[in-house]
């Protein structure tokens, strides 16, 4: 399921890595992330019908610098444009800052991905760098953006304020 999502053009088109992922490559990836303590992967499921709708990760968690890279996508295209991306992003960031104790979370997206830019900004991410013409596809070079958010910026963001009022904390 994950490989089918990841290889679908409507998902692959948002990723820097666009090569078709073989079953063998996926197995190697799964073995690697299963053993790595610096890498978490989740399948995002809809709370109402429990259907899997996407994938999220935190990777390259650095215990000294207390930072990690976040990413997510919705493989179920019909669920895009609703609240699911925001819901999942909030839970991942809460986990990163509250449970893992990270100080900073960062991510990347293609410069033309306006939805990613707006979703990241709503959780306090700020642009930290622009990798000019970093990627080549569709017969052209494309810019790649790095964004990051500190714990305090996340806590004060509109996204965190919205969700923290609605999602019970552990023990509540």
């Amino acid at each position: 399921m994950i490989r089918a999502w990841r290889n679908a053009p409507e998902v692959a088109s948002f990723h820097a890595e666009r090569d078709t992922i073989s079953a063998e490559k996926q197995k190697r990836w799964f073995a690697k992330v299963s053993e790595a303590s610096s890498h978490f992967v989740w399948v995002i499921c809809c709370a109402k019908d429990h259907r899997p709708i996407g994938v999220a990760h935190i990777k390259d968690i650095h215990p000294t610098h207390r930072r990690g890279e976040v990413g997510l996508y919705l493989g179920d295209v019909a669920r895009r444009g609703g609240p699911f991306g925001g819901d999942a992003f909030f839970l991942i960031l809460e986990f990163a800052f509250r449970s893992l104790g990270l100080h900073k979370v960062y991510g990347h997206y293609l410069h033309e991905n306006a939805v990613a830019r707006r979703l990241n900004a709503s959780f306090g991410f700020v642009e930290e760098g622009l990798f000019r013409e970093e990627l080549f596809y569709d017969d052209a070079f494309h810019d790649y953006v790095r964004v990051g958010v500190l714990e305090q910026e996340f806590t004060q963001s509109a996204g965190a304020r919205f969700y923290s009022r609605r999602i019970p904390k552990e023990g509540e």
Partner: protein, 82 residues
């Protein structure tokens, strides 16, 4: 302008990241790129902070325009001048 009206307009401009000169009174959900599901979440956060309230899920879904938002806020004792 009424104080609450001013606060609501400010919440719309901040929540939807709109310039000062945009007239918000006629705004409708999904009719501008800024007011999609992401903008809606930001808007709700700003309105709740502005009026120190917490909106019910049904009201969040019903918030389909600026004018409808005003109607909904009356349920939370946020009054607007005539």
């Amino acid at each position: 302008m009424d104080e609450n009206e001013e606060a609501l307009q400010r919440a719309f401009r901040i929540g939807l990241a709109l310039p000062q000169d945009v007239a918000v009174e006629q705004l409708v959900y999904n009719e501008i790129v800024e007011w999609d599901s992401i903008g809606h979440m930001q808007l709700v956060a700003e309105i709740e902070d502005a009026f120190d309230i917490m909106l019910d899920t049904d009201d969040i879904i019903d918030m389909s325009s600026y004018q409808k938002t005003k109607q909904i806020l009356k349920k939370y004792d946020v009054d607007f001048g005539a």
